[in-house]
Structures are given as C-alpha cells and as structure tokens.
Amino acid sequence: MSCELAQTTIHGYFDGELDAVRSAEFERHLERCAECQSALADIESLHTRIQQSNIYEQASPDLRNRIRKQIKQAAGRTSATPESSRIKWFLAPTFGALAAAAAVITIMFFVVQPRTQSARITAELIDAHVRSLQPGHLMDVQSTDQHTVKPWFDGKLDFIPPVSDYSEQGFPLVGGRLDVVDGHNTAALVYSRRKHFINLFVWPYREKEFNSDNSGSRQGYNWVSWQAGEMRFCLISDAAASDLRELKDLIHP
C-alpha cells in the first residue's frame, strides 16, 4: 500500500476512534483515495465476517462478576506475570477486567440472518446514532426509571414505544429522546453496556419488504434490526454484536 492513511488512520476511522475533526478530514481524503476506499471495504468485510461467524459468546453479567472476583483473588495471591505462552489463546485477554468474559469463548449456535434492510435507512440510523453521541445530543429525558421515560413520549409521538429497564441483565436504561428516521418521528431509547451507549430506535413501519430481521456493521458500528407487529426496532452501538443480540432477546424473547 502506498497511502499511509490506509494503514493506520483508516482503522481509527472505522472503529469510531477519531475525533470529529480528524474524522471529517479523513472522510474528505476517502472521497478521492481509491486505495482507502478499497481498504475500508476490506476492513468492513473482515469485521462482518467475524461478527457473523458467531465464534464467540460473551459471559452473562453474573459470570463476568464471578470471574473478575476470581482474577482479583488470584492476583492477590501471586505477583507472577499472568500471561503465559502456554495459556490458550482465548484466555489471554481475561487479565483485564473488561475482557473477563473472554474466558468463556465457546462455539455457539448460529442463525442465518437475511440482509435485506434498506441501506439508506440503516445509514440514516447510524448517522443518528453518531449524532446522538455528540455532547448534549444523547438524551432529551435522562432517567433510569422506565416509568419516567415512557410517559415523557406521551403527546410527542403518535405511537407508544415499549420502554423497559434491563439493569439486572447488564443493560441499564439511561434515558430517551426524539429522533427522525426516514422523515418520521422516532423514539430513541438509550441503554448503556459497560462504557458503551446503545440506541434503540423504535418507529412504526408497515412496508413488507423490510419485514425481516437482520444485522450487520458499518464504520465500526453494529446494528440489529427487527420488526414486531407494526413496529420496527433497531439497536445500534459500537458495543459487541453479541451484546446487541442479547439486548434484542431481552426486548423480544
């Protein structure tokens, strides 16, 4: 590769790690650099391939806590370097608290998920998610209480979004706001997962061509989208795709 940005900055861009100025600069560069466009497609393709392979399953919050506790205890008993070249590769990241769940990597079941969602709407949703992360844009109503967030939408939308808190399952409700998707008012509920924010967009949708479940990733953001009755739901976050699937299963088991 001859373009230096295609080897480094592009990864920060894809992973959402660039600040707004650098990100905008890179996007301008991207428009005229075929090499970076190709490299970005490769990164995205690899990311999607890993996500869709389902080679990994995250631990439940309870198991995570227990593993963390054991790691702390073990760390207290010995000053030895925790990492060993003989340790199974998937155990290596467990020595950081956030990676504790990697100890339970297992081959898991897999699900075929058709990818028929309108790219335009997905792009709009991702843009809305990114916009929401800008300072002061995340929430119109900030509350962990579903009985505060749900009534807040009264009179602001012509439908009532289902609002539940999943703190006990590791997805605390943080708040909500109004957003616009495809030209229509949309409810956006905000959940957190460790240090990541997850937007749940809910809006009425009736066109049959989008009546399918699907998921994917773009620019480092994962999404899981589904329909329930006449409502369309879409979770978007830079959290792991498995986290989004877990939250989706909580919302619609």
Binding site: Q7, T8, T9, I10, H11, G12, D15, E17, D42, I43, L46, H47, R49, I50, Q51, S53, N54, I55, Y56, Q58, E83, W89, F90, A92, P93, F95, G96, A97, L98, A99, A101, A102, I107, F110, V111, V112, P114, F159, I160, P161, P162, K195, H196, N211, D213, N222, W226, Q227, A228, G229, E230, M231, S237, D238, A239, A240, A241, S242, D243, H252
Partner: protein, 92 residues
C-alpha cells in the same frame, strides 16, 4: 401497539448445507485466529468480539494507546492474509 407475532417473525430454518458451510467458516476463522501471534490475537478479540475501545485495549494489554491503532492495523492485515491463504488452499 401490536403484539409481536412469533408465527410471522420466526427465524428462517437453516438447511444442512448452510449449517455445514457455517461450521466450516467458524473453523476457518478459529484456526486463523489461533495461528496469529498472541498480541495480534488479543487486540482482535478485544476490538472485534468484545467491542473494547482503544483506551480499554490499551489498559488491558498494556499497549500504549498511541500504538493500539497500528497494532490493530497489522493484526487485521495478518488475519486477512491468513484467511486468504486458507481459502486458496481449500480451493486445491
């Protein structure tokens, strides 16, 4: 709002050929990840599967945050090459 209708929105059933092909893909990816140097494997697992930020990856692995991006870049490239080679070998 309308209740979720499981009959309408049930997951598509996978046929045996699809299942076999997905199992192959999982094995291919697992072997490719296992063949990577531990440092590369670590950053890939943390970023791609755990969804960690660069700051979190730096804290966990001890890699300076300034070099997380370049390490990830090399790791992705190595994984991509490994998968390409694996696919080419299977073609023979």
């Amino acid at each position: 709002m309308t209740e979720f209708d499981e009959d309408v929105h049930q997951l598509p059933a996978a046929n045996p050929e699809t299942l076999a092909s997905q199992a192959d893909e999982r094995q291919r990816l697992t072997l490719a990840l296992e063949s990577l140097p531990p440092r590369f494997r670590e950053v890939l697992v943390l970023r791609e599967l755990e969804g960690c930020s660069y700051k979190e990856i730096g804290e966990i692995t001890g890699i300076p945050i300034g070099t997380v991006m370049s390490t990830l870049s090399r790791a992705r490239e190595r994984l991509r090459q490994t998968l390409t080679v694996a696919t080419a070998k299977e073609a023979f």
